[in-house]
Symmetry: C2
Amino acid sequence: MKMTVKEVANLTGVSVRTLHYYHREGILIPCEVTENKYRYYDATNLEQLQNILFLRELDFSIQEIKGILADPNYDEMDSFKKQRHLLQLKRNRLDKLIALLDQKLQGEETMNFKPFDMKEIEENQRKYQKETQERWGNTDAYHQSEQKTKGYTPENWAAIHNETEAIYASFVANMDKDTADPIVQDLVVQWQNNITKHYYNCTNEILAGLGLMYVHDDRFKENIDEHATGLAQFMSDAIGIYTAK
Amino acid sequence: MKMTVKEVANLTGVSVRTLHYYHREGILIPCEVTENKYRYYDATNLEQLQNILFLRELDFSIQEIKGILADPNYDEMDSFKKQRHLLQLKRNRLDKLIALLDQKLQGEETMNFKPFDMKEIEENQRKYQKETQERWGNTDAYHQSEQKTKGYTPENWAAIHNETEAIYASFVANMDKDTADPIVQDLVVQWQNNITKHYYNCTNEILAGLGLMYVHDDRFKENIDEHATGLAQFMSDAIGIYTAK
DNA sequence: ATAAACTATTACCTAAGGTGAGTGTCAAGG
DNA sequence: CCTTGACACTCACCTTAGGTAATAGTTTAT
């Protein structure tokens, strides 16, 4: 069920250009990019796109959307609830504007500007964002990551992806060894460097935190275990030993 | 009841920069601009601003808003009715999005993109615009005017205003003469040239149409008669004689 | 084999203001 | 009369979320 850009565009109503843009911005990365740079999208991509459209509807900027969706503790249902609330606020605002218009249709000379006000909505948007940022725990890391990833091109993303996958592969290839084995410990260092290089300064403390998340956060765990069952636990253990020193 | 930019900004929630911008774009011209370029707004300006905010809410561009508000046959009540309809469409759309979100909250895996669709709303916006453009009668003139006035700066507007007022004053000064008097007829020519120079190619046919509007369209009539009671009729008659030749 | 219909990248363009620098103006209090 | 803080002005550059070519490679169907 791979879909081309055009097919996605037709199905969803977003333009091809927008898909290109979302790719470059790193908020919707096609499941497959062939050698000749053709983009192909799958069902997961479509779901992500739907999420993006919801957030866009709520007037979040693309950068903000990136932050929300990249949140390691992102809770879809919780997010939907907040989105619902924001949509309701917007509807209330429209209701007030319609009411004001009705007054004017009655011939009332009303000089009212409150219905145009966006303060309440903006306040809730900020609240939403603040919560996700707090969940990132380390705001410094979050901001660094935001800054760094801002300018990444699709080529950059592809390179990062390859590099990351290579380290994953090495981990898988050494899963029979002890987690304290120097080879495995070196992979942990590579992993840490990879994060620092591409996202944010990954200190030992943060690395320790990540190690714990890899087993306790299902989103992370599932992702990692796709490379090999048990990999998440293995990496987490290896990181634990490394950071304990 | 003159208000400064800041006061208007505080009252309406619109930024000072936006007021500057609306001035330069010619969609909200302060009732008074002092020698040192300070802007002062009155109640009429506020009403106009409210209209602008309504139209902005409906996603009309500033240029489109200019076209709508400059429509010589602009009917406020009719406009409100259409605005109401558009706002309702927007609300319906929000309702659908909320419903979709509710489905997702129920855990349904729905891959629906229709609620994001803007086609219906855009279609109605086009309909709205088309109607006002048609009322301009001469679409060529409308477009010329749109193009020309696009680049006008506040200084341009002030100059045009002065020039126009000067002709009005001359008309007033000669209201005791016959409308066929060469002096009056020359003012008609100046009037025609003024329009051609600043707005669009004002042919004799169009001028004749304007002459009729000056007495039949209350918006025009009131505006003109502010300079002197009976001026609208006087100008209309003079134009009638000129274009009859 | 060729045309139609895709795909890609690059690069420039837009709307509706935001932001900041530098400067002029006004009202109030000392 | 002077100063000071709040306000006013313009100028000029910046931003977002893509739109719109132009140019060129690819796929697919005939």
